[in-house]
């Protein structure tokens, strides 16, 4: 099942992300094998799948960190890898924090903000850190923070430039309950404001809480996709297992 289109209700809007028959190979192995989907402003795709399904590779291609082997992906109409203009619209959250341990959260987020062209960044930086409840530890070295706190700073770093597309790879990794709530609230707010989100997670509950669509990925392919109105959140775990079994 290679492709899935967005709901017809919003089909007139320009997609934030349009992926067409995207493939990424490492030698003979196809980590992503002909994936197609579009995301309109305010849509959130929750991507589930077992380890090695190709979810992280897909996100790395969409973030411009890997080149597609074939097919294409467009962010706001710009084909990837589309240089600074495309990368400037994406916020990447990874299970790696992507932070400099010797610098403070404030310095890390300010550095990111300036890379994204925000010259007078201090208010934006403080706001992003406040949103993730890290303002009180904003000047401590990152290395002195717990793993969960580092993940909060990493999320603040990814959001400081108000991206049009958020790519979140296991964003709840290391977060405590309060951190997870803050993140969900932040992503929900961004989605309501028109940000498109792709979230990769093993946690069905957290993923489905935000999703307007859910997809199950296996061996590089989408083996099932569901629109939000078709998702029975109570029994999705069964649906997920069935999709994996049926997907070969």
């Amino acid at each position: 099942m290679p492709s899935e289109n967005s709901s017809t209700a919003t089909s007139a809007a320009t997609p934030v992300l349009a992926v067409s028959d995207l493939t990424r190979s490492f030698g003979p192995r196809r980590a992503v094998a002909g994936v197609s989907f579009t995301l309109l402003p305010g849509e959130c795709l929750a991507l589930f799948g077992p380890n090695g399904a190709g979810k992280t590779t897909l996100l790395r291609v969409l973030a411009g960190l890997l080149k597609p082997t074939s097919g294409n992906a467009r962010v706001s109409g710009i084909e990837l890898p589309g240089g600074a203009l495309a990368r400037g619209q994406v916020g990447l959250i990874s299970h790696h924090t992507m932070l400099y341990e010797a610098l403070s959260p404030r310095e890390n987020v300010a550095f990111a903000a300036r890379l994204y062209g925000i010259r007078d960044a201090s208010a934006r930086v403080d706001d992003a850190l406040r949103r993730m409840a890290m303002i009180e530890r904003a000047d401590a070295p990152v290395r002195s923070l717990s793993r969960g706190m580092q993940q909060r700073v990493s999320i603040a770093r990814a959001m400081v430039h108000s991206p049009r597309l958020v790519l979140a790879d296991e964003p709840y990794s290391g977060l405590d309950e309060s951190g997870a709530r803050s993140l969900t609230a932040l992503l929900e707010e961004l989605r309501s404001a028109g940000t498109a989100i792709v979230i990769v997670t093993h946690n069905l509950v957290e993923g489905l809480a935000l999703a307007t669509r859910a997809a199950v990925m296996k061996a590089g392919k989408f083996v099932r996709t569901d629109a939000a109105e078709r998702i029975d959140r109570g029994s999705y775990a069964v649906t997920y297992r069935e999709a994996l079994a049926a997907g070969g």
């Binding site: 960190l65 890898p81 203009l85 990368r87 990447l92 790696h96 992507m98 400099y100 310095e107 890379l115």
Partner: protein, 226 residues
């Protein structure tokens, strides 16, 4: 162009702030330079070789190997928790990343030289005050070439298992023209020859710098893009 320079400065400033906080590479390089100077000094027989004959070789050997310590660190700091992904996923151009890294490395190498050269003068009792200007020019030109080549190879080597070995193996052959020109020019200066006699070596260093700064800047994106 202004954007590239601004982003380069941001990256250089970030790298220098990290080095200022940790001081790990700087102290390693300075301690290495001073220890190497001391070893060369105690192995030296002043009745066989004069200080002005020996000092240029010592200076540029130390300069090369202490520089490698800083160059190895340059991309090492990016690998911790994949900070490099944040950098590459940002709108910063690959050329700006290279130039920023190279600028931070240049300042690092200059700071090590600021300690190593006066120490060399003390150890070998060299008459450097009269040739300080030309020597600074040689040091600056040599540092630019070394940093351009070394930054590129640091980016290539950092993802390998044998990065500490691979960086010197890749970079040292390219350092030979720099070290040769710098050592020859320094030797002429120390032996009291006029500055005009070193102009050919200076031109060689300038040409090397121009070629390798441009070539390495152009080649760098291919080392970080998959």
């Amino acid at each position: 162009m202004a954007d590239i320079l601004y982003t380069s400065w941001l990256i250089a400033r970030k790298d220098l702030a990290i080095e200022f906080r940790t001081r790990s590479a700087f102290f390693s390089a300075v301690v290495f330079a001073l220890l190497a100077l001391a070893i060369f000094y105690y192995a030296w027989d002043p009745t066989a070789v004069t200080a002005t004959d020996l000092a240029p070789g010592v200076l540029w050997v130390i300069f090369t190997f202490s520089g490698l310590l800083g160059l190895h660190r340059s991309f090492g700091v990016e690998m911790s928790d994949r900070a490099i992904d944040g950098l590459l996923a940002s709108p910063a151009s690959r050329e700006a990343i290279f130039l920023g890294k190279a600028l931070a490395n240049l300042i690092f190498v200059a700071a090590v030289q600021l300690v190593a050269i006066p120490a060399l003068v003390l150890f070998y009792n060299l008459p450097l005050t009269s040739i300080a200007g030309p020597l600074i020019a040689i040091a600056a030109l040599a540092a630019i070439g070394l940093v351009a080549v070394g930054t590129l190879f640091s980016a290539m080597a950092v993802n390998t298992r044998l990065a500490e070995l691979l960086l010197p193996m890749l970079a040292l052959p390219f350092f030979v023209p720099i070290v040769t020109a710098a050592a020859q020019a320094t030797a002429k200066l120390l032996s009291g020859r006029p500055v005009v006699e070193i102009s050919a070596w200076l031109k060689l260093l300038v040409a090397f710098d121009l070629v390798f700064v441009v070539a390495c800047t152009v080649a760098f994106p291919f080392t970080v893009e998959d």
